[in-house]
């Protein structure tokens, strides 16, 4: 009943090709965007921003980035944490070396820097495939973390090696630093998410996206039909790292404000983002959002249920959380290997005919 095409006539090619071909879906999308931009900033609280929305938005960017590489191009990467660190440290160096630079440029330049580094570490993908590549990307992960931890230039020779983001503002509003208003931080991230998701959606359905997918499905066959694997794979690494770098930059400047590379960008982060795209759905932009929301909200919700609800001690709640997260991952893979995005698509199919399925 909700997702009906009936009466929704397409009169041009562009209309036929739009991202949300069903009118209801399109309005729902406009509605979500409107709520995100116009309503949420006015009801923002510190807790909502710092504990839920900021991590959700930032992880969504990282998940979209990784999804481009893993879900669309089929190159499994476990180096996400390391690439996020590149973004964060580039931001830090830029912010301290050029205090006049505005945050948008800082963030974009951090993404660019990460894209370059990502391409360099993507080179082995031309020869190494599958698990071997997945493990090889761990080399990037460990090397980058070690580098930022070890070379004092990256943390400006500070005694402890922690980096912290100085306060920067745009249009008179502080974006980073403790004085920043949660709504401003939220809007700043949301803007990046909106533009980047829109870009990713259009990249993946254009020519380059088709090249990625053909490489994913079978790289030799793709090569035979004329896809240049060098260009396709490296561009996937570059675009993916650009996204991940921006996520890392925002993670450091807007969300946390101070990070230590080993603790914040370790191997767990790589796995976390990977989980997001598996649970959300490989090869789906919506899946990246769903996965990020799921992994951010689940631990918070479980802690509330077990620790606050049942009054059990927090350690027990956390142990059970491990069991549940692990169990859910296995459950999803067994029941629906294509993740939440696929469940969502199925639900939409059902809703189309509901309540008269015949």
């Amino acid at each position: 009943m909700f997702y009906r095409e009936a009466g929704d006539y397409k009169t041009s090619y562009a209309q036929d090709n739009q991202t949300f071909p069903i009118a209801f879906d399109r309005y729902r999308y406009y509605f979500v965007v409107a709520v995100g931009f116009a309503l949420l900033p006015f009801v923002m609280t510190d807790y909502l921003a710092n504990a839920i929305l900021l991590p959700f938005l930032i992880y969504a960017i990282a998940a979209i980035g990784l999804n481009i590489l893993v879900g669309y191009c089929g190159q499994v990467s476990l180096g996400t944490g390391g690439f996020m660190a590149v973004g964060a440290y580039t931001s830090y160096k830029l912010m301290t070396a050029f205090p006049w630079m505005d945050m948008v440029s800082v963030t974009l330049l951090s993404g660019l820097m990460t894209a370059i580094v990502g391409m360099a570490f993507g080179l082995p993908s031309l020869r190494i495939k599958g698990f071997y590549l997945a493990v090889a990307t761990l080399a990037a992960q460990f090397f980058l973390v070690w580098l930022f931890n070890r070379v004092p230039w990256f943390f400006n020779y500070s005694a402890s090696g922690q980096i912290s983001a100085p306060e920067r503002s745009m249009f008179g509003w502080a974006i980073t630093g403790p004085a920043a208003n949660p709504s401003v931080k939220y809007l700043f991230c949301l803007l990046f998410v909106f533009v980047l998701a829109w870009l990713a959606r259009n990249l993946t359905r254009g020519s380059i996206g088709r090249q990625w997918m053909s490489i994913r499905d079978m790289d030799i066959a793709a090569e035979i039909i004329g896809v240049n694997p060098l260009r396709a794979k490296l561009s996937a690494f570059a675009v993916s790292s650009f996204y991940v770098g921006i996520a890392g930059s925002l993670f450091f400047t807007v969300y946390l404000g101070a990070v230590e590379v080993g603790a914040s960008f370790g191997i767990q982060k790589s796995f976390l983002v990977l989980f997001m795209i598996i649970i959300g759905g490989l090869g789906s932009i919506f899946g990246s959002f769903a996965g990020a929301a799921f992994m951010v909200l689940l631990p918070v919700a479980l802690t509330r249920i077990f620790a606050d609800g049942f009054g059990w001690d927090t350690a027990l709640a956390r142990h059970i959380e491990f069991v549940i997260v692990g169990g859910l991952i296995m459950f999803f893979l067994i029941v629906e290997p294509h993740g939440l995005a696929r469940l969502w698509a199925l639900a939409k199919e059902k809703l189309r005919l509901w309540p008269f399925p015949y």
Partner: protein
């Protein structure tokens, strides 16, 4: 610099010993990957779980005591008796076999025929799950593990090298026992695979699932078998590493040390795991020795260039891979359109 040469020899020897410890972990990966194509990330957590279970049984702890106490408000922690080491090991093996049954029945039987990457993700999920279960069962304190393995410097080697070379080499007794145990383990595994009916079935499945199925080998049975074997290997690895540092959460991270070994040796070769372990162990020890030593290399940098162990193994393996993408001993990758 004869001194530096001697030191380098000592460092390489110790590196080789460490390499064997890595190989012990890597063996479990190879077993499962060969038979079922599953890249089992949870091997490290299995080592933790096995070692925790062993200590828990030895000390007579009540499993899930924390959970039980929270729900029922009771205060039980221990049964009050201690189990001798040998019996405890047997009981732990039984637990690991039960775990293999569980994994096969509830997880991987439902994932037959999925893409390898999906199976890999499932094992990451399994790793989380098992970590939680391990904590729930036995708590997250550090446990002291004592199965009677010797530790400390080996005096005989120290004296012999001192007399021959003028500098006594340090070799840890625990490493020597690890090497012996690893050798026995590999010999037993190979003998098992070559000379027993179950072993032959295992190899048949590794060669070709469909063909094995068609001559009447139960895939389910073989998979339970390899998961049990991997569980036992995990127990051995857990005991060796646990004797060094106490049994604790960090044991689960040793899986990360085994991955470069696998890349280098190939995911499908048991000798590859051993040789890969040796190369990685020696390579990273020598590299660390060379770059951190001020006399050799370290003076080139303005900062101390050390603690490279974590990444060097991966870079070394990566360098090998660029020339041999299937690892040193892996099966050749043949691709057809």
């Amino acid at each position: 610099m004869p001194d530096q040469l001697l030191f380098a020899m000592e460092v390489s020897l110790n590196g080789l010993m460490t390499g064997i410890m890595y190989a012990l972990v890597a063996l479990g990966f190879v077993l499962i990957y060969k038979a079922s194509g599953i890249f089992n990330y949870s091997q490290g957590v299995m080592a933790l779980f096995a070692a925790m279970t062993l200590v828990g049984i030895q000390e007579g702890r009540v499993p899930f005591s924390h959970l039980i106490n929270s729900i029922f408000g009771t205060h039980i922690t221990e049964f009050g008796f201690e189990v001798p080491a040998l019996l405890a090991i047997l009981l732990t093996v039984a637990v690991m076999i039960a775990f293999a049954l569980f994994v096969q029945k509830f997880v991987f039987r439902h994932l037959v025929g999925q893409e390898p990457i999906i199976l890999f993700m499932a094992t990451i999920g399994l790793a989380y799950f098992l970590e939680g279960v391990s904590d729930l069962m036995w708590g997250s304190e550090i446990r002291q593990l004592d199965v009677g393995l010797p530790q400390g410097i080996n005096g005989a080697i120290d004296n012999a090298t001192f007399e021959a070379l003028g500098y006594g080499f340090f070799i840890d007794n625990l490493d020597i026992s690890a090497a012996i145990i690893a050798a026995i383990l590999v010999a037993v595994l190979i003998a098992f695979a070559q000379y027993t009916k179950q072993g032959r079935a295992m190899r048949a499945v590794a060669d070709d699932h469909q063909a094995a199925l068609s001559v009447g080998i139960s895939l389910n049975y073989v998979w339970i078998l390899v998961w049990s074997l991997a569980g036992i290997v995990a127990l051995v690895a857990g005991v060796m590493w646990g004797s060094k540092s106490g049994v604790q959460f960090s044991l689960s991270l040793i899986a990360l040390k085994a991955l470069p070994v696998l890349m280098l040796g190939g995911f499908t070769s048991i000798p590859g795991a051993i040789i890969g372990g040796l190369i990685i162990g020696m390579g990273e020890a020598l590299f660390e020795f060379v770059v951190s030593s001020n006399d050799l290399f370290g003076a080139w940098f303005g900062f101390t260039f050390s603690a490279t162990e974590n990444w060097f193994a991966y870079v070394l393996a990566l360098a090998f891979l660029v020339f041999r993408p299937q690892g040193l001993f892996g099966e050749r990758i043949i691709e057809r359109v």
